[in-house]
Amino acid sequence: MTQTQKKKSTDTTQKKSPEAATIPNAEQTNGSEGSAASKAQAKSASPPPTARSTASAPNDHRLVGGGRTDNGRLMVHKTYKMWVGGKFIRSEQGRVLGLHNAEGDLVTHYVRASRKDLRDAVSAARSAQTPWATRSAFNRGQILFRAAEMIDARRESLIARLQEHAHLSASEATQEVDAAADRMFWYAGWTDKYVQVLSSVNPVASSFFNFTLPEPTGVVAIFAPTNAPLLGLVSLIAPVILSGNTCVVLVENNAPTVAIELSEILATSDFPGGVVNILTGLRDELLPHAAGHMDINAIASCGGNEAQDRAIQLAACESVKRVHFFEQPQTLDAWCSERQQSLYSILPFVEWKTAWHPIGV
């Protein structure tokens, strides 16, 4: 509760009563018609708006979301929750953070995950891991393919959200969403191939049949990129889970709500609960707990600063965690490049098992 706040985050702590934090604010959404209209247009999944929301008074903390549709209908307010164990949950602490638009207006709240939320997510991920890993590679592939389908199916909505919450232009947002669907599709195809490409039969000099194959490492904590809120996330989650790992993703960026939108997509892609768990919150707050958690096997991190990366490495040694830092591309074009998808991004999160058996009659 006493963690330092990021400058864009407003901590509106309302213990055990997140509704109270959002609903009264929602009613204050008057006097910013432009913003409300823009939001409404996006929510209706119509073609993305071309105009940004008009300026309103800075630091005027009003919810610009939850506005009206084109035909003047008051929209139902949406609460951005986290996705843990297949359920959409609020933080057990009831803390939320505020998301602001380019003009500084409060757009919506999202959850600030607590240490307990992290532990719950790890336990959900652990329970889901063996069942997920023991599904057939074909089946895991089908589910990842389905996720790619669903990204495409919610394309307009994602484009709108990236514009509205991540302040992308229409063309940037379109580029990111399309690349995200394609990236998911690309990795989906690896589930039943990576073992074949990477395993080996070893010609040992003695009379043994000897082979080596990759197996998932277990539960992986992912510190999501601080940019590319959709594509960055897909680029890290897909190579981790395709082999049979489960993950707990911590998102802190300028549009964590996009991660929640993604979780809504994954939730309708037949992922068993707990395979992917998405927490929103503050990296600095949860990092030591995740890096030191004894039931997390590996950490994937992207976009952290030097101190954060070092803190991960320091705490990780307690359980000899595998730590892999993904270099964060600085531009959307770089994120979209095919160089960002690789068979070798799967490797940091697999273990090699070598098996021996005598040959003889």
Binding site: S200, A205, T212, Q313, C317, V320, L343, Y344, K353, P358
Partner: protein
């Protein structure tokens, strides 16, 4: 088979053993008069043997006599070694034609084969392992490792499909005392094949053969600075790990030190591979060929005095055959010959050091104190040197220290189970995950258990087999990265 016939069979076997006792083996020690080594060693830096300071003795654990003295490198000496490695990497090795690198590594393999006998004797003198193991296991594997990786040096681009590979730079490597030369080979061969230069530190109780290896590097005319070997203990190792110009750290040793190393490189982008401790489960199902299984149990725990990170130190026996297996095991244990490592008939040699012997005593005492039943071989132990009787604990429960902690000695803990599921749960109930053995005649059971065990090496109906083509390494707190095989190249390459 009824219990009664079992007992009859037992007494027949005992008769066989008595026969063995009556007709004991005459001593058959390997002669040492032809081995050559210096009384004092410094370090091997930039292709030359250099003087050092702060010398410490390395003793023969079977006689407690000093073999030679070795210098302990400080930060400045480590820095010289790293600088020499960097210069060799940048100037020669990194840009050498891969086919030539291959031939240098091949030379090392051949020279090791040519000098195998001397090296095996020195290995047994310095480390206490039986000559039949250093001669028949360690040395052949050492040579094979160099020969295997020599062939990779000019074929690296075939190893990782779709990727481009390049060398990393200077590797800092710290190795343990249980397989001194073999661990040096596991570290050096893939590093050199991938085009990196090396600073290696052998363990302070077994530095002798590393110095002989340095001589072979000279004989091979390996370019100066490609391989640098510094002697010393923890401080020297720390200096290597922390040196800012080291690009990659490879460590084999205890999990405790592995964690310290992982912490020490935090905040850097040094690559790291760790091959750490283990508490391997050796699972005997009731449908296993029991006599073969007993040989496997013996091989699993008494090989190299149990100084093996992948030792099968937790025996899990199915309840229905537990009595029979333990009976056969105790009988077989009784026939192990413990003694002079240089004697060709010795099965179990000397414990590597006084410190290790003390640790084994301490853990064995904890087993007794916590209520496990101890069974020890009744063999005579030499009056001098560090020796420990082959020991089996029964009535061990999972919470006992002897079921949890790595003893790294000839001490086996026996637990029982009823169902395959229980066996799996017990096998995986460990922070370690290096190795496991499974004994069963039923293929589907073997595959299913092997798939569910969280361990990097799984031996089915065998134990403690090694080969340069076969990747080795752990899950969980047994470390990460692989050594051996194609997969052992990866830690020494940038793969994009």
């Amino acid at each position: 088979m009824t219990t009664k016939t079992n007992e009859q069979a037992h007494s027949r076997d005992m008769a066989g053993l008595l026969f063995g006792d009556l007709w004991g083996y005459a001593p058959s020690p390997e002669s040492t008069d032809h081995v050559r080594y210096a009384q004092r060693y410094g370090h091997f830096i930039n292709g030359r043997f250099v003087e050092g300071k702060d010398h410490f003795p390395s003793i023969n654990p079977a006689t407690e006599e000093v073999i030679a003295e070795f210098a302990a490198a400080d930060e400045a000496e480590v820095d010289q070694a790293v600088q020499s490695a960097r210069a060799a990497y940048a100037g020669v090795w990194g840009k050498m034609k891969p086919a030539e690198r291959a031939k240098y590594i091949y030379r090392l393999g051949r020279l090791i084969q040519e000098n195998a006998r001397e090296l095996a004797i020195l290995e047994s003198m310095d480390g206490g392992k039986p000559i039949k193991e250093s001669r028949d296991v360690d040395l052949p594997l050492v040579a094979a490792h160099f020969l295997y990786y020599a062939g990779w040096a000019d074929k690296l681009h075939y190893a990782f499909p779709g990727a481009t590979v390049s060398s990393i730079g200077v590797a800092g490597q710290v190795i343990p005392w249980n397989f001194p030369l073999l661990m040096a080979a596991w570290k050096l061969a893939p590093a050199l094949a991938a085009g990196n230069s090396v600073v290696l530190k052998p363990a302070e109780t077994t530095p002798l053969t590393a110095m002989k290896l340095a001589e072979l590097c000279q004989e091979a005319d390996l370019p100066a600075g490609v391989v640098n070997i510094v002697n010393g203990a923890g401080r020297t190792g720390a200096a290597i790990v922390k040196h800012p110009d080291i690009d990659k750290v490879a460590f084999t040793g205890s999990t405790e030190v592995g964690k310290i190393i992982q912490r020490a490189i935090a905040g850097t982008r040094k690559r790291l591979t760790l091959e750490l401790g283990g508490k391997g489960a050796n699972i005997i199902f009731e449908d296993a060929p029991l006599d073969q299984a007993v040989e496997g149990i013996i091989q699993g725990i008494f090989f190299n005095q149990g100084h093996v990170c992948c030792a099968g130190s937790r025996l899990l026996v199915q309840e229905s055959v537990a009595k029979e297996v333990i009976q056969k095991l105790r009988l077989r244990m009784e026939s192990l010959r413990v003694g002079d490592p240089l004697d060709k008939n010795t099965d179990v040699g000397a414990i590597n050091s006084r410190a290790q012997l003390d640790k084994i005593h301490e853990l064995v005492q904890s087993g007794i104190d916590e209520g496990a039943h101890i069974h020890q071989s009744t063999c005579n132990l030499p009056s001098r040197g560090f020796f420990f009787r082959p020991t089996v604990f029964t009535e061990v429960s999972q919470s006992h220290r002897i079921a949890q902690e790595e003893i790294f000695g000839p001490v086996l803990s026996v637990l029982t189970f009823r169902t395959p599921d229980e066996a799996l749960k017990k096998a995986n109930n460990s922070p370690y995950g290096l190795s496991a053995g499974i004994w069963s005649d039923k293929g589907s059971k073997l595959f299913s258990v092997a798939g569910a065990i969280r361990a990097g090496v799984v031996w089915g109906n065998t134990y403690n087999q090694f080969d340069p083509a076969s990747p080795f390494g752990g899950y969980k707190e047994s470390g990460f990265g692989r050594e051996g095989g194609l997969h052992g190249l990866k830690p020494y390459l940038e793969v994009r």
